[in-house]
Symmetry: C2
Subunit: 197 residues, 2 copies
Amino acid sequence: MNATADRILDVGQELIQTGGFSAMSFQDIASEVGIRKPSIIHHFPTKAELGVAIIRRYRDTFASQLQQISKDPAKSSWDALEFYFSPFLFLASTPDKVCLCGALAGEIPALPEVMRVEVKQFIEAHQRWLEEILREGVELGELVLIDSPKSLSRVIFNSLQGSLLVRRSTEDVSQLKDLINAMRKLVKSDSSIQQIR
Amino acid sequence: MNATADRILDVGQELIQTGGFSAMSFQDIASEVGIRKPSIIHHFPTKAELGVAIIRRYRDTFASQLQQISKDPAKSSWDALEFYFSPFLFLASTPDKVCLCGALAGEIPALPEVMRVEVKQFIEAHQRWLEEILREGVELGELVLIDSPKSLSRVIFNSLQGSLLVRRSTEDVSQLKDLINAMRKLVKSDSSIQQIR
DNA sequence: TGTAAACTACCGAACGGTAGGTAGTTTGTC
DNA sequence: GACAAACTACCTACCGTTCGGTAGTTTACA
């Protein structure tokens, strides 16, 4: 139904992930979608509202996928963690793209206030979820951590974000995959490994 | 001597670290320094050249501090690592500022080509140096690592960069200090700690 | 069922503002 | 007098946004 609005969101998100929100212009989106600039404003009255719509759609999609896997009794904490890594592993094959929240976090000062609020909530949700996976894994005896769930969830989240950003300038494509492997070492499912206090 | 040029570089760097290169304008710098816009262009003909000058000055300063500490026989690898963390600990008390290379890495696609080259070299130098501290620490028996020097240096560098970026939106000021503590746990100077293979 | 009102999707043209950058001129100091 | 440093004035390009208007579809009601 809202085919045009969806395409605008698709193209907009792609442009944010490759070039950032500030660099994304209505003109760029219009050219890609095949309509004129004011037609975008018909669907999304301001650039800020378009930005908010893109974030909300992404977050909602992610949240529902999240729900699905955490409610599945056949999935372990390790599976959940691997699921958390999967979008980043996918990004590892698209050298010039970063994840949406990382791209937006990188230009927080230049963002309209409404978007800053949205980005903050988005990042906090990500961190909470990862922390919960780790905490539950420890409680169930499925995971052995090198550090506290809270501290380790920050390390993993921050290094994933940092890696995506840094990778774009170093053009070292293997770095992201290496990093995820390193993260797996910090979270052991093999309980024979000695835990560091 | 070049008092004005230096002030332009100072203000420019400050603006990049707080708002990014794209958001920084000649007008902003001029207002802060107390001169007119074309006077900046007199010292730095293009915005790209100003950007390159800022990066080069930062890198050269950092490199010489780096030389000093690594040549001092009284300093251990652990001291060198703490020195590496020190600028980040300083940034921990300035909530809206990120480090220069992180700010620039975040907007690589929007940067002029000459600056992209400079940023790439800057980041690679940082990573190489950190890796060298760790490698030397292991060889001297001063450090016990949770992972290989190369892999761990990436984890530390990426998570520091990511943390600065993320922190600006979450406004969680303690997160950076927590992270550095977590990093210290991944690199142990206490050899009684069991090393994970 | 006919028809007028309302709505949706889109368009061309233009506005106010800001960006980086240029040309030419004045000022201050060896 | 030479020259660097600073100035005023101006340019082009592009940004998000607004305006006025055009089709085509849907809705409301006599």
